[in-house]
């Protein structure tokens, strides 16, 4: 498809508005992939149950995402709709209805994943900005604990063998769909750490440039309404993917064992194993969805 320069400029302006740091080839590719779409008031953008092959950037207008029996979500300009389902690779769970005449830029999920695959910088920026949003919301919205925390994958004390480290990282939620190769590669770079009862990472001399996965034990993260995290969670929650320093706010409630991965190593591997980024986005989409159910977006 030939896109006029004016169209491309409009798309570029919108993309730069949404993603401040997008530049160069990634920006040019995105402008090629986006498809403009206009809908009149009352029209449906997508319907609950349809495969979530696309998501949309709202350029103008308002959209309501509705499902029977739950509060609607309202979105206005510069928001993204349909992405939670697309990132979780499941059919749309709501129907999107246009409230006032709206213009969208449509992006296919597969194109987006290709872009993340080809451009590790975009992948990193996407994960980090998404994680930042989840972190910011988690501090605001009082989310209850999930009940019983999961059993640890490995209960014996360290040092862990490679096999045990794989089992531990396989349990990590942000690596859930990352694939064994990515998990195995991270294993080679993971190191073991411990927190005594009441200790924070700084008390145990842990460096805050790492992502810490909880192996055994339980921690509470300050500022998140008493939310506890256990085996398979990131110390500091999803926000650690944006800034590992988020782990600084965690305090061990029981003796806690951790596996640490340098943030740099994690993002370096994203380039080789694109499933790492799709898995992280899926994890963040799950976390965000739970939060927005409690505090629905109101455009």
């Amino acid at each position: 498809m030939i896109i006029s320069d004016n169209d491309r400029l409009l798309r570029e302006l919108l993309l730069r508005t949404l993603f401040q740091s997008i530049t160069g080839e990634s920006l040019a590719r995105m402008t090629e992939l986006l498809v403009p779409r206009a809908l009149a008031e009352g029209e449906t953008l997508f319907t609950e149950g349809e495969p979530s092959e696309r998501f949309w950037f709202v350029v103008e207008g308002k959209v309501r995402l509705e499902r029977e029996g739950v509060a609607p979500w309202l979105f206005g300009p510069r928001s993204v709709v349909g992405s939670l389902d697309a990132f979780r690779d499941r059919p749309y769970t709501r129907t999107a209805r246009v409230l006032t005449e709206a213009h969208f830029l449509e992006l296919r999920r597969s194109d987006w994943l290709d872009l993340l695959d080809d451009d590790a910088l975009i992948a990193r920026q996407t994960i980090q900005s998404f994680a930042g949003r989840v972190h910011e919301m988690a501090r605001r919205v009082p989310l209850q604990n999930d009940g019983e925390l999961p059993h640890p994958a490995v209960a014996t004390p360290g040092p862990f063998s490679t096999y045990q480290k794989i089992l531990i990282l396989r349990q990590a939620q942000f690596l859930e769909s990352a694939g064994m190769q990515a998990v195995a590669s991270l294993t080679a770079l993971a190191s073991e750490h411990e927190l005594a009862v009441g200790q924070r990472p700084a008390d145990a001399g842990l460096r805050l440039d790492r992502l810490y996965v909880i192996v055994t034990g339980r921690v509470e993260v300050e500022g998140t309404h008493g939310r506890e995290r256990g085996p398979g969670d990131l110390l500091g929650g999803p926000g650690a993917l944006q800034d590992p320093a988020a782990a600084a706010e965690a305090r061990a409630l029981v003796p806690t064992v951790l596996l640490g991965i340098h943030q740099q190593d994690y993002y370096d591997l994203v380039e080789e194993h694109p499933q790492l980024s799709s898995s992280a986005l899926r994890y963040l989409a799950t976390a965000l969805e739970r939060l927005v159910e409690l505090e629905p977006p109101q455009a």
């Binding site: 400029l9 302006l13 080839e25 090629e32 490995v154 014996t156 096999y163 190593d265």
Partner: protein, 878 residues
């Protein structure tokens, strides 16, 4: 024969139909030739060629319409019934000269239409990939039918007269029609009212591939007319009338026996080895050589028979299979084939007949001269065929729904409308939109179009960015409005204002700022004044008096100096920047400053910054700016194992940034020699970047060799993973599941690397999309993707054969067990999970071998097994 589940019924029915049809035709042809030569002599052959071609011109559109109206299968059934009736009719009529002439035309026409309709049906029933496997054996059915027909003719002629062959031919056609009714065929595509016309020649000629096919078909037809005439001339001069029918029957018998051997023993392997295009070129090549031999033998009877047998045999076996496969990617095949049949094949037959008549009437056409003409025609046929590859590939590209990879990765330039739109955005309330518009103008070097009035906006982020751009642009029209910003309430805006005045060299404003009530503004001004006057203190920059109060992690004064030095290069700039870069919190700023300034002494610092994601792009740009010395250092560093892994893994893509022949060589060496998987992968990415972004040549033999290596690795891993699929309950054990999942991921990874290698070899194609099409739900699309990749790889020159073989095994649609069976000749294929774990425990991949050893120990399959590691719960789900 590679017949897969679900294909048997369709294949054998089609096989039977073709056998019976060709068997019937062989009987008809034997009777036709014997009766014609005995009654009319070879001199009338030219007329009958023209008449047959004219008949075909008239009937082909009718036959095509029949296919469209009733579907390929029903059309074939109808034509077979008509042929059966026709043969029986000729049997009961007395053999007058006119009837013998009409019989010749009828036999030629019926064969032409029936064979074309049969292959049309076959190409609907089987996909391109199935066709590659099955068309060879299917064509063998035709040869078998011809052989049986010839044998029946030989036997019958010993007890009865030649016309009785017509009765048996009628029966064979009838039997074929009955079997054909049982073939499941797709329904006709369009209703009668929607039938499109046969494409007019101009429309057809726009399809360059079809034009080539038409040209090849035309020359092949003319060649055939000349060869047939030469053959029959020599036969009639050598034999009496009574000997003709037995000779033709024996000739058919021997020729078809040889053809059957060729078809069964050679065609399938030739298709795999030569590919479709090689196969298509084989008949004209062999005919050319046989033609040369015939000329040299001065038209000896044996040589002429060999030439005729070669033409008949090759065109109906290898040539037919090749042509059918060539048509696979053509959209609206039925219409175009009809056009080619009408315009090219039949027209050329008529033309051939006319030319032959002309040659015979104007010159003394000796057998040697005719053989020479046949040779020239075959050579022309070959020449046209050689140029068909790019068009064939282009057609698959189109069939896959993606044109060549048209990358427009440049950002559009700004025209007046666009500028207007961006300037409007600067005035909109949203901060993000204003910043986006500022950046878009700046990136296109249109900073001068940013109105100075933007400095009246309130948002600090917008003011800071605008001041950055004004300072770097050297513009002065903003100064009056900007002066007041030195007194802005936000310290970031104040500093940005001082910086902007410093960068445009407004010493008066800097002096004024140096007396500002704010200590921060004063300090900033002093830094810029010192830098501008070249009065930077001696000694290590971190210990300068100027920075005495610049404490805390922000280091605003040091950052201000770094920015200034980055924009206004001075001899001392690199030294000072590197000293300041010694502070970890300033290293990123220094890296960004070095993008514009600095000398080769910065190379080690910049290489270290490659390890930091946020600084990587700037470090790469800075190294590329430094040119040869940086490229030298990097190409040495990629081989230095003592360098930190975090740096080493980013060197290949950085080397690619130099976009030079040397960078290509260095990356190819890494790809070939490095024993670190991640480094090899990065070298591959670097080469891909060069391939897609430049026109620098990349060694094709090396890439072809890598395709073989990666393809073999895929097959090795696939075979190992498959061993666990059939492992029973052991498969679910966590220890085994971990190994299996790791293998499956590695299989995918090696497939991805193959796609990248192909992308390097074929820069203009969207290989990623083609690989996606290999997993499309649509069978035809999958088959097109396989054929497309096969054709691409075969164009890699001398090294392509092995690469094509391996790639075919990777991408072809095969049941896993069959893929493993075929891979056995190339890679070790374990019999079961136990043997797989044994092999893996010695694998070069340390992680894989460790996990395999662990699994063997836990399962008690290894020597000196140790008790399993305690896990809670002891058996985790796989």
């Amino acid at each position: 024969m590679d017949l897969r589940p679900g294909e048997g019924s369709g294949f054998f029915r089609a096989f039977a139909v073709l056998s019976l049809t060709i068997g019937g035709h062989t009987l008809l042809e034997t009777a036709r030739d014997a009766l014609f030569l005995a009654r009319l002599g070879p001199e009338r052959l030219t007329l009958v060629y023209v008449a047959a071609a004219a008949g075909a011109l008239a009937l082909t559109p009718v036959a095509t319409r029949l296919v469209k109206l009733t579907g390929a299968r029903n059309a074939l059934v109808v034509t077979l019934l008509v042929a059966s009736f026709g043969a029986a009719w000729f049997r009961v009529r007395p053999p007058s000269a006119a009837l013998v002439f009409a019989l010749y035309v009828f036999a030629t026409l019926s064969a032409t239409i029936l064979i074309a309709q049969f292959w049309q049906l076959a190409s609907k029933v089987f996909s391109a990939s199935q066709g590659r496997r099955l068309f060879g054996p299917l064509a063998a059915g035709g040869v078998l039918g011809a052989l049986v027909g010839a044998a029946v003719a030989t036997q019958l002629l010993q007890v009865t007269d030649v016309r009785s062959l017509l009765s048996v031919a009628a029966l064979a056609y009838f039997a074929a029609s009955l079997v054909a009714t049982t073939i499941e065929s797709p329904p006709p595509v369009v209703a009668s009212v929607e039938l499109g016309p046969t494409p007019a020649p101009p429309q057809m000629f726009r399809e360059r591939f079809v034009v080539r096919l038409a040209a090849m078909a035309a020359i092949a037809s003319i060649t055939s007319v000349f060869v047939d005439y030469l053959f029959k001339l020599r036969v009639s001069s050598q034999m009496s009338s009574a000997e003709l029918a037995p000779f033709f029957a024996r000739y058919q018998l021997v020729m078809n026996a040889g053809l059957l051997l060729l078809q069964v023993g050679v065609t399938g392997r030739l298709v795999e080895r030569l590919g479709v295009l090689g196969l298509v070129l084989l008949p004209p090549s062999l005919l050319t050589w046989t033609g040369v031999a015939t000329v040299l033998s001065r038209g000896a009877f044996g040589a002429v028979v060999a030439l005729k047998a070669g033409d008949a045999a090759l065109r109906n076996s290898l040539g037919r299979v090749g042509t059918e496969l060539l048509w696979a990617p053509v959209e609206d095949q039925t219409r175009f084939r009809a056009a080619v049949d009408v315009v090219a094949t039949r027209g050329a037959q008529a033309l051939g007949g006319g030319l032959l008549l002309l040659v015979l009437t104007r010159a003394n056409a000796t057998p040697t001269a005719l053989a020479a003409l046949c040779t020239c025609l075959s050579a022309a046929w070959l020449a046209i065929g050689i140029g068909i590859r790019p068009r064939y590939v282009e057609l698959f590209r189109r069939a896959l729904g993606r044109g060549s990879l048209e990358r427009n990765l440049t950002l559009p330039e700004l025209d007046l409308n666009a500028v207007e739109m961006l300037v409007e955005s600067l005035a909109r309330p949203g901060i993000e939109e204003a910043l986006a518009a500022l950046n878009m103008l700046a990136e296109r070097q249109r900073t001068r179009l940013i109105p100075a009035l933007i400095l009246y906006r309130q948002e600090p982020a917008v003011l800071v960015r605008a001041l950055e751009l004004f300072g770097e642009s050297g513009r002065r029209d903003w100064v009056t409005i900007g002066e007041r910003l030195i007194d802005h309430e936000n310290p970031d805006v104040q500093r940005a204002a001082v910086r902007a005045f410093g960068l445009i060299g407004d010493d008066a404003m800097l002096e004024r700022a140096s007396r500002h009530p704010s200590a921060s503004v004063r300090a900033f001004a002093l830094v810029y004044l010192a830098e501008r006057r070249g009065h930077l203190p001696d000694g290590n920059a971190l210990a300068w008096e100027l920075f005495r109060d610049d404490t805390g992690p922000a280091h605003p004064l040091k950052r201000a100096l770094i920015q200034a030095l980055g924009l206004q290069a001075s001899p001392e700039a690199t030294r000072v920047l590197l000293e300041l870069g010694g502070l970890p919190e300033l290293a990123g700023d220094v890296t960004r400053a070095l993008v514009r300034t600095g000398d080769s002494t910065a190379i080690p610092f910049l290489m270290e910054r490659l390890a930091v994601a946020e600084d990587r792009a700037a470090a790469r740009a800075a190294l590329v700016r430094l040119g040869e010395p940086a490229e030298d250092a990097l190409t040495k560093a990629v081989l230095d194992r003592s360098l930190s892994r975090r740096i080493r893994i980013h060197l290949p893509v950085t080397v690619a940034g130099f976009e030079s022949a040397r960078a290509v060589r260095s990356l190819l060496e890494l790809l070939h020699d490095s024993n670190e998987g991640l480094v090899r992968y990065k070298a591959l990415r670097g080469l891909e970047r060069i391939a897609l972004g430049t026109s620098l040549p990349i060694s094709v033999p090396t890439i072809a060799a890598e395709i073989v290596k990666n393809g073999s690795e895929y097959l090795r891993l696939f075979s190992l993973a498959y061993a666990f699929d059939t492992a029973g309950p052991v498969r679910a054990r966590t220890e085994v599941a971990v190994v299996r999942e790791l293998l499956e991921d590695k299989v995918e990874q090696s497939r991805g690397r193959l796609a990248r290698l192909l992308q390097i070899a074929h820069r203009s194609d969207d290989i990623k999309t083609v690989f996606s099409a290999l997993r499309a739900p649509d069978r035809v699309r999958r088959a097109h993707a396989v054929e497309f990749l096969d054709a691409l790889v075969r164009s890699l020159g001398r090294n392509s054969l092995e690469a094509a073989g391996v790639l075919r095994l990777v991408v072809d649609e095969l049941p896993p067990a069959e893929r493993v069976r075929r891979a056995a000749g190339l890679v070790p294929t374990p019999r079961d999970a136990r043997e797989a774990l044994e092999l893996l425990s010695e694998d070069a991949d340390r992680l894989l071998s460790e996990l395999a050893r662990h699994a063997r120990q836990t399962l008690g399959w290894g020597r000196g097994s140790t008790p399993p590691i305690a896990l809670v719960p002891s058996e985790l789900p796989a």
